[in-house]
Symmetry: C2
Subunit: 385 residues, 2 copies
Amino acid sequence: MLPGVGVFGTGSTARVLVPLLKAEGFEVHALWGRSEEEACCLAQELGIPFHTSRSDDVLLHQDVDLVCIYIPPSMTRQIAVKALGIGKNVVCEKAATAVDSFKMVTAARYYPQLLSIMGNTLRFLPAFVAMRRLLVEGYVGELQVCDVRVYGASLLDQSYGWTCEELMGGGGLHTVGSALIDLLSFLTGARANRVHGLLRTFVQQKGTIRGIRRVTSDDFCFFQMLMGGNGPPGAGAVCCTVTLNFNMPGSSVHEVMVVGSAGRLVARGTELYGQRNGGKGEELLLGDSGWAGPEAKEMPLPLLRGLGAMVTGLRQSFQAHQERRSWAPGPVAMAPTFEDGLYVQTVVEAVKRSSCSGEWENVEVMSQEPDPNHNLCEALQRNKS
Amino acid sequence: MLPGVGVFGTGSTARVLVPLLKAEGFEVHALWGRSEEEACCLAQELGIPFHTSRSDDVLLHQDVDLVCIYIPPSMTRQIAVKALGIGKNVVCEKAATAVDSFKMVTAARYYPQLLSIMGNTLRFLPAFVAMRRLLVEGYVGELQVCDVRVYGASLLDQSYGWTCEELMGGGGLHTVGSALIDLLSFLTGARANRVHGLLRTFVQQKGTIRGIRRVTSDDFCFFQMLMGGNGPPGAGAVCCTVTLNFNMPGSSVHEVMVVGSAGRLVARGTELYGQRNGGKGEELLLGDSGWAGPEAKEMPLPLLRGLGAMVTGLRQSFQAHQERRSWAPGPVAMAPTFEDGLYVQTVVEAVKRSSCSGEWENVEVMSQEPDPNHNLCEALQRNKS
């Protein structure tokens, strides 16, 4: 039996998610928006019976068993942790910082019977599911290089907000790069040890964002990850390079290429192509099957379809059980966990550090929460001496 | 009146160059090969009256006024400097080291009346000539990012030789990257201040290259250059990223993209495309005009056509004068000088250093020859103390 759903967020993802949920048979009972007005407006448009701007009203809503959180990164941790604490299943987008991500991991570990997955995913896209299977089957031989390029129009909102602020989780690296970092670890079965990156904000003022306000979030980002491999730095590791450019209106390049000793695979948009060394040329391995779901101009097609496939996975997971809060792990086993979310956030922060330092930075995933009194203690120590 | 030509080299470039020269009306009088046999074989094939394996026989040949040097990088400096000293005009490929390049610069400065240009050029390709003109005219607005990708089959010779040895000028960075580094400085009108790179040799043994022999030259190379711009590191600079992958048989991607505040230009192979922000989409700005010249399977089409256009430039330059050794600078003004060659070599070495150190490396072009006794002096100093 499918659980009732409460949705947080009124942005482009929430707007797409609700129809996807309904199409799979979920009932969306409640919608939260930052302002009463935004919530009311979207609830009417999407036919959601209840709307609010108070988060508890959704979290405590008796018909809501699954909470989907698609809100600005800086607010995600608070809602996600509270939802788990109240006993709700959670699908959510990335948080703003590694510390926030770590707190979410702690909560998820504390309530293992509740579903907790990261919902900004490319893993479910059929092209990447097939790519991973072929990698495991040895289509490309020994994996050497992954090369990812995503080009598109500006990610900035029309008016000033979190999308403009690097510290609030704005920018290409955090918004789009996160999903790619997760994808590459899914595809390679490894995690980044070291990263090197370069971020730029080419467009610092735009439209109504002017005067004393400046955009600090990146619109160009370029990073390398050395995944897996031990011994001397980088030896035996897979080299991943990711180029993100959001100063290219009218373009929608979304290309993920993996190159190995025996061939290569390329996902262009939602289609998968492959070429074996010595083969006749590139072959279409998985075409686009057409899209019956809602349109979303602002959302790249791979993300949109990935979201759709994830919602299908959710339906299958919950359908397997009679009790509406219970779920079977199988259909969502592929989904990124909160632990994966913490890893992704750690890589994002290492890339940002690298862009400042100019050096390769190690990726060290937090294993315990930093002491919030750390700075205080240091200050006291200093005063003593 | 066109000068008589002597060609050094029996490799794939020399094999293409001779027909190109002949097609433009040059007479090729002499061919040099490393072995008598190689020289004889190719001379017969191409109908060159004289061949030898002794370099002086070509350099001192009375009908030879222009020397084209397309030989392994480690031998280039010696022949080029000697040719200038004997009073011959020189077109040559890159040398193996910055010190060699500097010696060539010194010789070129010493004989300013002689033509001395780097002959491994993409600058003459019509698509890049047009791209540069459009950049100057402001088609893309303020230039932000250059993104270059060249993918292809292995650059290694069938048998062990300089192509396998990093120190002898083998590898993708040195062989293909050089031409791209030169091209990007031609397009942007700036030089790299700082570079960061990563080189890999994925295929270390191959075919007859086995046993104790190992390939040390890179087959994957990935580097970034910050071009121009002053003030804090990287601020205001153009970010260039170059990805070279020569583990992709059957592929021939040669793509140079420049992105600016108002639009972008992309050269794919020999064709040029453009898109202005807010425009209707990508437009073909310069199509491929067809190729009547010789075929060369081993040579990417952009390089082949660039070579052809350079030979045309040479013909125009010499035709402008009656005396067969005189030339007009105009038609070859676009060509890279030996100074450009030194700059390129300096960038190549900085990228290699960066790949070892993991850090951004400054590009500092040599302004005086390093003291050959430097190491000796240091050793003496050390013994003293």
